[in-house]
Symmetry: C2
Amino acid sequence: VSGVALVLVAHGSRREASNAEVRALAATLAARAEGQFSSVHAGFLELAEPSIPEAIAAAIAAGAREVRVLPWFLSAGRHVSEDIPAQVAEARARHPGVPIHLLGHAGALPGMAEILLAAAGGGGG
Amino acid sequence: VSGVALVLVAHGSRREASNAEVRALAATLAARAEGQFSSVHAGFLELAEPSIPEAIAAAIAAGAREVRVLPWFLSAGRHVSEDIPAQVAEARARHPGVPIHLLGHAGALPGMAEILLAAAGGGGG
């Protein structure tokens, strides 16, 4: 148990299967984290629960002494540049003793090009 | 030159910076493909150009003898399950001599959990 929690933040959808996909990914991350994170949570910007501040509060209630927030978004639109930072700022104000770090969005993460190329396979022709 | 072209398919946005991000990713993929693909193209479901059939047609006009279509989407909603397959089917009907393969969407690709965990870092506490 590292004391660091990860909160995966998605947009949220009226289609519950999409929200379930996000929760399943958070569970996969928890299973593979192998002590890297004390807990992994899913949070939603809108249309699904828990909200981002709720997910952060749950991580802290579960004992996290540090929280890292990872936006599960492909592009750096308004949600990534404004809405999520605003909600993270709100969580910081509520939990002044806990560092809450906002990471870069998923679409621009290092290694993304490599897994796309690997998935698209090679050779052919 | 492998004869295989990759078409990265995104939703498309009214925000041109988001479309530019997709085109930049396609350019990154082309630069890193190192002969794996003869060309890499971006195509858009709506709100931006070229369309998916136009991007596929451009790949074939550039000499591709096989096309692989990779949906740049995080979740398997209606766009991934219905709209993109319909446009790919349209392209197949127009280009009967060229195999056009539709790959799984980006959010569910192998290796995704690993790059998220790597980005979120470790240790702490």
